[in-house]
Subunit: 787 residues, 2 copies
Amino acid sequence: MIRHPAFEVEPWALRENRLDLDVLAQTESVFALSNGHIGLRGNLDEGEPHGEPGTYLNGFYELRPLPYAEGGYGYPESGQTVVNVTNGKLIRLMVGDEPFDLRYGTLHQHERVLDLRAGTLTRTAHWSSPTGTSVRVRSTRLVSFTHRAIAAIRYEVEAVDRPTHLVVQSELVANETQTSQGGDPRAAAVLRSPLVAEESVLGDGLSIMVHRTRASGLRVAAGMWHEIDGPDGTLTEAQGSDDVSRVTVATRLAPGGTLRMVKFFSYGWSRRRSRPALHDQVAAALAAARLVGWEGLRDDQRRFLDGFWDGADVEVEGDAEVQQAVRFGLFHLLQSAARLEERPLPAKGLTGSGYDGHAFWDTEIFVLPVLTYTYPRAVADALAWRRSTLPLARARAGQLGLRGAAFPWRTIHGEECSGYWPAGTAAFHVNADIAHAVAQYVDATQDETFDGRTGLHVLVETARLWLALGHHDAAGRFRIDGVTGPDEYTAVADNNVYTNLMAQRNLREAAEAVARHPALAAALDVTTEETRGWREAAEAMTVPYDERLGVHPESEGFTQHALWNFATTGPERYPLLLHFPYFDLYRRQVVKQADVVLAMHLRGDAFTPAQKARNFAYYEALTVRDSSLSACTQAVIAAEVGHLELAYRYLGEAALMDLADLEKNTVDGVHMAALAGAWIALVAGFGGMRAGGGRMCFAPALPAGITRLAFRLRYRGSLLSVSATREATAYRLLQGPPITLTHHGERFDLGGEEVTRPNPPRPAPEQQVHQPPGREPRPRRPHEPGG
Amino acid sequence: MIRHPAFEVEPWALRENRLDLDVLAQTESVFALSNGHIGLRGNLDEGEPHGEPGTYLNGFYELRPLPYAEGGYGYPESGQTVVNVTNGKLIRLMVGDEPFDLRYGTLHQHERVLDLRAGTLTRTAHWSSPTGTSVRVRSTRLVSFTHRAIAAIRYEVEAVDRPTHLVVQSELVANETQTSQGGDPRAAAVLRSPLVAEESVLGDGLSIMVHRTRASGLRVAAGMWHEIDGPDGTLTEAQGSDDVSRVTVATRLAPGGTLRMVKFFSYGWSRRRSRPALHDQVAAALAAARLVGWEGLRDDQRRFLDGFWDGADVEVEGDAEVQQAVRFGLFHLLQSAARLEERPLPAKGLTGSGYDGHAFWDTEIFVLPVLTYTYPRAVADALAWRRSTLPLARARAGQLGLRGAAFPWRTIHGEECSGYWPAGTAAFHVNADIAHAVAQYVDATQDETFDGRTGLHVLVETARLWLALGHHDAAGRFRIDGVTGPDEYTAVADNNVYTNLMAQRNLREAAEAVARHPALAAALDVTTEETRGWREAAEAMTVPYDERLGVHPESEGFTQHALWNFATTGPERYPLLLHFPYFDLYRRQVVKQADVVLAMHLRGDAFTPAQKARNFAYYEALTVRDSSLSACTQAVIAAEVGHLELAYRYLGEAALMDLADLEKNTVDGVHMAALAGAWIALVAGFGGMRAGGGRMCFAPALPAGITRLAFRLRYRGSLLSVSATREATAYRLLQGPPITLTHHGERFDLGGEEVTRPNPPRPAPEQQVHQPPGREPRPRRPHEPGG
């Protein structure tokens, strides 16, 4: 866990001014840079000490065998694991005859700053070697948003108080030693040295290495080029071997003298392109980078971010910590998504190797909704990736005896990589989640090209899946049996409320998309009978309800199960899945993460206000939040049913998931969905934002800790600004055509004039709620700026 | 599959007179010899050709890692696998300068006979080598029922028509090459050479080898000693190395001359005893065997079997094939159980390495009921083994967060070895099954020592488990949620009817055992409150019932699930679990094996006759019999509800499971439960035998194919003979005190006089039944003797 305050609280940056090796791995995740194609963990320039070295290329993976004590039909035989590719950020430094290593000598000053507007990670160190030679090191690193294949580092060393010999070794290193590889020795063997050298060449200051993975057969090229500015007599030479390419710069600095270097490095990978083609691709990218130069890259980066923040910023007054966290979150979302270009958006982005680098349903349900209203082109990219995997998803459905498409629970390339089907393949809701993201994006953007091409295809194939997966019972009700909903503490159950409601929407959205694009639909062999079947199934969808309790059971029979014995479950036994068997979790009323509550957010139309209040109270008492995906949804519904202070606590948990390492696994990468959750809790929670069917609604209501909440978002070509205080909300149209909005249920037109509406008083809710003992969300202590 | 007729149909033997290498592995299983301690597959004396070499010692196993693609709390980390120990049955023969190998040369005559009264496997061969030298080989092999550690082979070679040089090499061989080891390379590595040599000594004609397993640390000693009778000039010498001990006999036979040899071999194993102690134990056993001599062993064997058959024989007139099969089955049951002595009774006995040599619930539910009424002392042994594993079962319950004992789904030593919990740990009914076997044995034998010692302890700890596993719902009903019943095509469901009814009996039997042994129960900390809790839970037990259909759903919600699409499921897609994912099987109405139907057999008191008829018809249409455990139970209930001809077909399937290799896996060993099933189908099915609470009831009714059915069984110290024709049943008391019996519901006393009662007419049942298309039991073609 990152002890507070690990980072300074400030509005536009994440700043560390003390090096704590105990949380080095966590800081590598939060200081990671990425553009959605290249990801660099925030490893120190000199490589060591490190928590976990990491350089990732989106979509680049190695295969490893998935073993089973007892196999079964349809179990995936191999998994895909993100590979730590050639490290291009490594710059070693020798001071006199001692390596610059912060574990030795004296670190007088240390600072790392992730600048959310500049899009750079800067680092300064004032260090004396064990023999007393002092240097100042300053580096600035960026992964370019505007040049997809390029990263760059500006690196300076200054001799402080005596003449100093320096040697800088700037490297490309493949097959770095990894810290951990999990328990399976065969997997570890595969990943210990995943890259087979194909080429390592030097020439004209350019170093290029090409490698290939053993099993997946993917090829990766990395290249580097340097600008060096040192005193006369500075020597430069280059060496290379299969797995290391090195440029060595030796110089002697007078006191106050400085060696400056800019390192440009570039990556390309491909399944199909040849070694020479990849080599040339990387060389070309480096040539373009040299043309733009360091200043050009830096300026482009800022301009790109200015544009992003103009349409996406969220202002939070009264809680500086949350202010910082929500911008930090938006920045990482943008980093994970900006240059996706038909690649997946993994749960950890490209910030760590957690979850094997896989993408899950949380991308569609938590990350893409934020991007839909702030950076929609990334959503089109992410969903185009899903569409590109349709042949694999159709094949998987066929293997499972179904029709349509069965998207994988977890994957990099598109094949199912889940090795435990009750919490993997059985979680068919992922298909409705993807369909939801498609429909939401089309609603928000009216992107007709996408709608007819990507959207229709995904909606049709997922609707086909639901019709094959469910059946009409003797009474005519449409049932979906034996599936797993979002709550992973119940599995393989009948008629999960979330799944059925999302499938219902999926079926209807598919029928509507077909109606919008009859010719394109005909090309997919969609018939009138088929869409009638979808509409009938949606109409007859089973949504179980417990009349006795007046609540929706998470799935059929759920409310008859035994309650979890929270009284005898000590705090050290969370997360429960690490301390109790699945069988025990599955058969009791204990909830890992919002499930019915998530359904109430995404399908609010299917519940009455009274049902929402009762369901929320019922599930609050059962939900342990052993998943990072829960707090933001609980915030949204807590706010909707009037528990504003509780919502505020949940906001804090979502927002600080990684900055405070609440789940204790930020070491493996940041939690994109939780980072998105800060925005969701603020905008959908306290802003009351709901959109769909061409309507954009707000219902702002602030907790005591937030005095003003303002956010910008895009909807159907308009850029809006919403600014709420406790008393009133001001709406402004910043760009685009006039738009009709809803404020606390009242519709109004927004054009050139700012519109202000009072926020109605919110009486305290009648129903008290409580959480399982010890699982209450932690209270927010509003953090004063500079405090 | 063994093509018919592979074996001659005769009443007291299994005879093969043609060598078919395609089914060699299957014949090795059916010709296996065992006494429950030592098991020898029916490999040819000369070792090759072979299907799978096999020599097993009950309880002797190696550990191997159980891998998981995604692990979980409480998953077993290592499995136990039966080991092919030192092979003592190997006798190689060199004829002239050519090895006696039936794949070469000409086999003029071949016969193998398993004699069910002699307890021997005899083999004769008349063979000419490729160069034309002819020999006759005769061998007789036995594993002694009366000398637990001893096996012996009488081996003769006769020169037929010319002077012939012979060399016989009689061996002990450790770490034989195995044919197959499954898919996991790590497991294969462990089991490729499981035995580490500790000692190999020769002296005074005695050869002894001691080995130890690498991981489980078990020690095994094997020894051999020979009597050799050959012409003058016969040479004998012995050699040994770590893994091979060899006695070589070289002789020259005149035409018609014979070399005779008797090989005695012996085994001992231990977890604790030292190398010298085990060495001496084996040497002592061999000394005892030499004292008794071959003829003595052979005569003891027959006397032992005469005694067994006197109390256990079943006569079937009209169907010679079933007559042979039921005796074959009883013989293998006896072989698996005779000398258990607190060791498990595995699903395949000691006839093959199938299921890793594990014991499952089928021992208690199918095998022990037969032995309870035919050879009860083995039942006491088998259940004493379960009792000896109580500390492990209690620890497992604790690990799972439960109280009492959670016996393993599959094991050799007592630890859970199931690598797939939904069809392993979740099948908690195994605990009630063990309790059922305990109660049935106590009812049948009134063995008070067992009752107070083994029985009470097992009943108390299993009752505790059920109370921890279930809970009273808001309406006060006792529910058992999230468990798996016998039908493995539905898993992790609520209120499985079989499980709940068996748990109900378990709770009641435990309370009654406590009432019988208050002092012993107090020593187990049983209180009045605790037994009251058991009785209350039993009283309030949930037994779901579908009022609309008038049937018991296998578990809650089962009858609302979609039906399996049998129309599109071709015959090549059975067993379904190899061609469809679990998720699809679990959520549909498709039944692997009798579940509600088994409950109707074992808890017939809980169903009305009309319910039995409706339930049977309902589940017949859903049951695919992908398990060898189903046919006999379907036979029993088909007979009870009046479908006698259908019952007769199921009898045929159970009886011929291994003789006709119906499941195509007899290669891995014979199916003890199916072999028991032939007896169950005959005695409980057509004999209508039900026992419990001191009452023994019969209701004989024969199908057209059986003209007379007679069986003997033991109950409360009495040995009964029951002989039924279509018209009437004759009851005789062969030994023991007079007894009150029930014939078709009418009670009568049986003393010295034979009692004959007419069998009431059985009208054809009203309800027609059908099976899934293509899954109908195959018609019986009554087999004429000699036909």
